[in-house]
């Protein structure tokens, strides 16, 4: 049965910076329209470089920031924007976060298991004994033992273990979607896979979808089913992950893939155009990639590209596709 996993309607977030004289307007999210459907839980990758808007998107979906306009719908429930918003409890059962820095995700003054127990008792409305069972189950599913975790403070864990505890906590309420913001970027490369592989198994075990936010295309390839490429708040390409990353169609996606330092293929030593002043790019009328695009033409200056749907299910925002 096909469900709407993630849908956004003209999502906008505008920040205004600066004082009275130098006001800069940053369209962190600029008319983002997504409609991702599936009949089973999926891992959706939100890929972009710094300034792309991916972190803003995470904050909007987690209710930490209000969108300027537009809506976000997760599994048919409105989570952000104007309308019938869910109650606190409903929201906590719909989305749950995993943050980038595991050490910043917990207070240094509290034990890690206190957060897990609290989630079980307050979000799942369990009694203390039931909560302990739920926590134990969640920790086991991420490869940690309750005895090893109980009574310990965040700085007594390694980064990988602490992040896994974070994952366990996020799964206790059986959310529809887990929002993972760069979950492994602060973990050593050789230890990342233990956390990343977890997402793949837990997707099946808990029937939870994930929104995996990252700048790392290689990890996105490995773990995501579906991927969206963001640039200065606008979507450039969106579609099945493996297809988009092995056969990119948007010039920006191609540029990204050419620039990833691979371990099996050397770079093409072409010169690349670097980005100019960033605020200008945010407000550009036409396609935001105009200044750096190798195939840019006059039409790109004034007209924002409309989404072009392709047979393999992807959507590309370019005039020349």
């Amino acid at each position: 049965m096909m469900e709407t996993i993630l849908k956004t309607d003209s999502l906008n977030k505008v920040y205004r910076l600066g004082g009275l004289i130098h006001r800069a307007r940053i369209d962190a999210l600029d008319d983002v329209n997504l409609d991702i459907k599936s009949d089973q839980p999926i891992i959706i990758g939100l890929v972009g470089e710094s300034g792309s808007g991916k972190t803003t998107f995470a904050k909007v979906i987690l209710h930490l920031v209000e969108p300027t306009s537009g809506r976000v719908i997760v599994y048919d429930r409105l989570v952000a924007g104007k309308g019938d918003k869910p109650t606190g409890q409903e929201l906590l059962h719909t989305v749950q976060p995993i943050f980038q820095d595991p050490y910043a995700a917990f207070s240094s003054y509290q034990t890690v298991n206190s957060y897990l127990e609290r989630t079980a008792m307050r979000v799942n409305q369990l009694s203390r004994t039931e909560a302990v069972d739920a926590v134990e189950e969640a920790l086991t599913s991420v490869g940690l033992k309750y005895e090893d975790v109980r009574g310990k403070y965040p700085n007594q864990f390694s980064g990988g273990e602490l992040q896994r505890a974070s994952v366990a906590r996020a799964l206790i309420p059986r959310p529809k979607m887990v929002i993972a913001d760069e979950p492994v970027s602060m973990i050593d490369a050789s230890l990342r896979m233990s956390v990343i592989n977890l997402f793949l198994t837990l997707k099946q075990e808990y029937k939870t979808s994930f929104l995996y936010i990252t700048h790392d295309l290689t990890i996105a390839y490995y773990v995501c089913d579906y991927i969206t490429i963001l640039y200065r708040g606008a979507i450039f390409e969106s579609g099945p992950a493996k297809a988009v990353l092995t056969d990119p169609q948007h010039p920006y996606t191609k540029l990204l893939l050419e620039s990833v330092p691979r371990t099996n293929r050397k770079w093409d030593h072409k010169q690349i155009a670097l980005s100019d002043i960033e605020t200008k790019e945010y407000q550009f009328e036409g396609c935001k990639f105009y200044n750096r695009c190798p195939i840019a033409a006059d039409i790109c200056v004034h007209d924002r590209p409309a989404p072009v749907k392709k047979e393999d299910g992807r959507v590309v925002y370019c005039h020349f596709v």
Binding site: T218, T263, N264
Partner: protein, 318 residues
């Protein structure tokens, strides 16, 4: 040839003393881009600082020395004792997050002239710097800007330009592209590669990203728990890694286009505060024997140009 002899460098903290580099013995050939790879706590930043000679407390060089392969005015070889005299002229260092560490209230050019002593006048020097920067396809106006006016990538490129202005024999860069976007990173790394080809000098580059090494480092050394475990041609290290740690690490990295399942290296690196005996990777190594746990393997040349510190290289290659 940069000779590292029995280097032991330690940090003295309230908790005690810990050896961040614990016995490194290596000869790094000149005129290559050499990558130092390893994970957090392995000692790569400390090793770079030791090579640069930047030993300020709490860091101190307990034992050993570095010989740089060039001589001073009297003809004696320069070592760790007097390398400080050659900073910026014959050896240059770009520290980690240096692009975020620029003084925000002074222009870039002042930070450049603050750090050098030079024979000519300041204005003349700056003109030459601007010309040099222009030659590298960078806007010469950037020298006169404040750090916040430039993007992170531009700042880093300017820093690289300033570090190479005097055409040093050795350029040390610690994670020069870590905080930068992948497209900007490629630009800076290619810039470094071109500079090395032009200047025919040695660039030693620290990065935790194996992909960076694969792309531009010709030689590579892998550090683990304050020791060097492997050293050699990058291509060989990737295609036929000798040390189990190197092999597991490379195998754990996903690649675009490759759908195989990847696994982490199990366990975690040892704490340097503990009393470490034998091979430091033994607790995590599936082939470890009693010998590994009690006897520390020395770094030896297994194949011409490929060095490894492991007792059972033949076994691990199977």
């Amino acid at each position: 040839m940069i000779k590292l002899s029995n280097l032991v460098a330690s940090y003295t903290t309230a908790r005690g003393q810990v050896n961040a580099v614990d016995g490194v013995n290596l000869q790094i050939p000149s005129e290559y881009i050499v990558g130092i790879a390893g994970e957090s706590g392995c000692g790569k930043t400390t090793l770079i600082r030791v090579i640069y000679g930047d030993m300020s407390p709490p860091l101190s060089l307990e034992k050993g020395e570095v010989r740089y392969g060039f001589c001073d005015a009297n003809g004696t070889e320069v070592t760790s004792d007097n390398i400080g005299d050659y900073w910026s002229k014959r050896i240059s260092y770009i520290p980690q997050s240096s692009m975020s560490s620029l003084n925000p209230v002074t222009r870039i050019r002042k930070q450049f002239t603050d750090f050098l002593d030079y024979d000519k006048g300041r204005a003349e020097l700056l003109d030459e710097v601007r010309a040099y920067v222009k030659n590298l396809d960078l806007p010469p106006e950037a020298i006169d800007a404040y750090p916040h006016e430039l993007s992170g990538g531009m700042r880093q490129r300017i820093l690289v330009a300033m570090a190479t202005f005097f055409q040093p024999d050795i350029l040390l860069a610690d994670e020069p592209t870590t905080a930068l976007d992948v497209v900007v990173q490629k630009g800076i790394l290619l810039m470094l590669k071109r500079l090395q080809e032009q200047m025919q000098n040695t660039i030693i580059l620290v990065s935790h990203d194996m992909g960076v090494h694969y792309q531009i480092a010709q030689k590579m050394l892998i550090m683990y728990a304050a020791k060097v475990v492997e050293f050699g041609d990058t291509r060989e290290v990737f295609e036929a890694p000798l040390h189990p740690y190197t092999r597991f690490m490379i195998e754990s990295l996903p690649t675009i286009g490759d759908d195989r399942v990847r696994q982490s290296v199990r366990g975690r690196p040892p704490s340097l505060w503990e009393d470490l005996k034998g091979c430091r990777f033994a607790p995590r190594c599936p082939m470890a024997t009693e010998r590994c746990r009690s006897e520390e393997p020395a770094l030896r040349e297994y194949r011409p140009g490929q060095f490894v510190a492991c007792h059972y290289v033949e076994r691990s290659l199977q």
